[in-house]
């Protein structure tokens, strides 16, 4: 338990340091507000799809993990609906509602969840593989599809045409990175299936290209968050933070734990799901919110605030895990 808490604190401090450094450089005039858009695009249209594609290719899969993922996804859906209902009750603007749904639903599974599971259970362990698969299926893919749709829907100006699902899927499937992935993957299969010369080099280039991008994602995301961040007004911010903390960091772990216990999942699987549900709001969710017109500043402030709050809530979860 102490090991889990210790790694969690260190990771939170690391990301806060990166955000603080970016803020410092921004205050010194080295970064400007217009840089924000560049990083938003880099994350959403370049690095994020790469991470999903390369994770899918390398995925080791077990059928029972679909069931675990379904429990996680159900908890996420309930959280999203609760946040939406609260926003309606509070009559919050659409752009704020979109930002709250994203950061109140999607957590930092790749930023915090995966490194924590890796540090505690080992990078090569089955727990790590399970954590990665569930994080991919329950968070990464939904946030890149449903998350973008939610952001685009709530981020669109009043009266403007929304983004339909077919259009969003079509756009996603024709991004340069997806086309490259599809061609590269097909060529890689072709070369290795027919034992053609150069198959090894091609596979090395193909994997290396995606590895370079994958490894850079976290830094790009945190730079984007650092650029987005503005000191919020306490009076309006604190109720929003309270809502997100209650839903994302209390309700979501409770729902996941209840579902996992009711389904009789093994202890290890329950622990993994609990860790992934208990992590603070996802930095990528804030970047997506900003990219598609929702209130990015609120989203970024909420992400950083939930990281701070997790210094109190996560040890309690670790205590439950034992």
């Amino acid at each position: 338990m102490m090991q889990l808490v210790s790694y969690h604190i260190q990771l939170v401090v690391i990301f806060l340091i990166i955000v603080a450094v970016v803020q410092l450089l921004k205050r010194k005039g080295l970064f400007k507000d217009e840089f924000q858009e560049v990083f938003d695009r880099l994350v959403t249209e370049f690095a994020l799809p790469v991470v999903i594609f390369s994770s899918l290719v390398a995925m080791t899969f077990r059928v029972e993990w679909i069931f675990h993922t379904a429990i996680f996804l159900s908890a996420l859906t309930i959280c999203a609906l609760v946040i939406y209902a609260c926003c309606r009750l509070l009559r919050l603007p659409r752009k704020t509602t979109g930002a709250l749904i994203l950061v109140g639903t999607f957590g930092s599974t790749s930023t915090l969840g995966a490194p924590l599971i890796s540090a505690v259970y080992g990078a090569e362990s089955m727990a790590m593989t399970e954590g990665l698969v569930e994080g991919l299926l329950a968070i990464a893919i939904p946030i890149s599809t449903a998350g973008i749709l939610v952001a685009a829907y709530f981020g669109a100006d009043e009266g403007a045409a929304g983004v339909g699902l077919p259009a969003a899927v079509r756009k996603f499937l024709f991004t340069p990175i997806f086309v490259a992935f599809a061609i590269g993957f097909a060529l890689s299969l072709l070369l290795s299936s027919f034992h053609l010369g150069g198959a090894e080099i091609f596979a090395g280039v193909f994997q290396g290209f995606f590895e370079v991008l994958q490894q850079s994602l976290e830094l790009l995301v945190w730079i984007a968050v650092g650029l987005m961040l503005r000191p919020p007004k306490a009076k309006t911010f604190l109720p929003l933070l309270g809502l997100v903390v209650l839903v994302k960091m209390v309700l979501q772990p409770v729902l996941v734990l209840t579902g996992a216990s009711a389904a009789g999942l093994p202890d290890l699987s329950q622990d993994i799901l609990l860790i992934e549900a208990a992590v603070p709001s996802g930095a990528i969710a804030a970047v997506i919110a900003d990219r598609y017109g929702c209130d990015g500043r609120i989203a970024a402030a909420l992400v950083v605030a939930t990281y701070l709050v997790s210094l109190v809530t996560f040890p309690l979860i670790a205590f439950v895990i034992g």
Partner: protein, 317 residues
């Protein structure tokens, strides 16, 4: 042949990354105006963090200093010869700055380190020697002397007499120099240096190190644009002959005179035979030199490296 295959892979990955940025640029996702963002990010944040963490966690030994001295001597000789060639060819100051930088400073961290890691193994004697020689002989001089060179030539076209005092003052206040000094200070305090090898420090600085390659590729990709063909051939000839042929020969000579064992000689030659540094291109562009030609030349030296580096590796090994 392993290291040759890895080199070919590294070159290909870099090309694919650059090509991708070009595609995204054509699609309007990236614009020319975005380039300074990445230049600043690299020179003001990522590289200082990488330099600090590398230097702070290092223990400097005599043979590493000698190796770095040999490397630095060859780099400065190539820079000086490049300057003479530019004067003879009457290149502009901005172009001269770029040619001088690219003729001396190679892709040590982006190309040589992965190659050595694969060849000798991470954490091996060869790898440690290679990193120290690369940092002390190429990277740190490139980010200190290289910045001064870039600032000097980059400002000459605008002012008749470059304000050297101001350039030095700016350099002393630059994050790169501050990172170097801080890193050296920390490396001399054992408890602080040990702290740099903890999981926390390695994870924190690992994020910056992992981001370097992609950000450099993005910056080069955005920098790349059409340049005057007439100018390219002489520029290309100067850079290739100095950086990729003369520099390996010079370090081979230096290692022979120093009586280095085969392992150290091999590492020196591998590092010297690297293509021109993408980071040098960013420094050149950041400080007012000809960034467009520099980025084209980096790509060109990577291409020619496909032939020269396997050849040099085969001869050495």
């Amino acid at each position: 042949m392993d290291q040759i295959s890895l080199f070919l892979q590294s070159v290909a990955i870099f090309f694919v990354l650059v090509l991708f940025i070009q595609v995204l640029k054509w699609q309007g996702i990236f614009k020319d105006s975005h380039q300074p963002v990445f230049n600043r990010l690299i020179t003001e944040l990522i590289l200082p963090a990488t330099i600090f963490s590398t230097v702070a966690a290092s223990t400097i030994r005599a043979e590493q200093i000698i190796g770095a001295g040999i490397m630095l001597g060859s780099v400065l000789t190539c820079c000086f010869l490049a300057y003479l060639a530019c004067r003879a060819l009457r290149f502009s100051s901005r172009l001269t700055g770029s040619v001088v930088l690219l003729s001396g400073f190679g892709s040590t961290s982006t190309m040589a380190y992965p190659l050595m890691s694969q060849t000798f193994g991470p954490g091996s004697e060869g790898m440690i020697f290679g990193i120290m020689v690369g940092e002390l002989g190429v990277c740190i001089p490139g980010l200190t002397i290289g910045v001064l060179i870039a600032a000097y030539f980059g400002s000459r076209d605008e002012k008749k007499r470059p304000d050297l005092l101001q350039i030095v003052k700016n350099f002393l206040h630059s994050p790169l120099f501050i990172a170097l000094i801080l890193g050296l200070a920390v490396s001399q305090i054992p408890p602080a240096s040990a702290l740099m090898q903890t999981w926390f420090a390695e994870t924190l600085f690992g994020y910056f190190a992992h981001g370097l390659e992609i950000l450099v590729a993005i910056s080069v990709g955005l920098m790349l644009r059409p340049v005057q063909i007439r100018l390219l051939l002489p520029v290309f000839a100067v850079i290739v002959s100095l950086k990729m042929l003369l520099q390996p020969a010079l370090v081979l000579l230096g290692a022979g005179i120093a009586g280095f064992p085969d392992l150290y000689t091999m590492i020196l030659v591998i590092e010297a035979s690297m293509p021109s540094g993408a980071v040098a291109t960013i420094v050149a562009n950041r400080y007012g030199c000809d960034g467009a030609t520099a980025s084209t030349m980096v790509i060109a030296t990577y291409l020619i490296g496909l032939v020269t580096i396997p050849f040099i590796s085969l001869v050495m090994i």
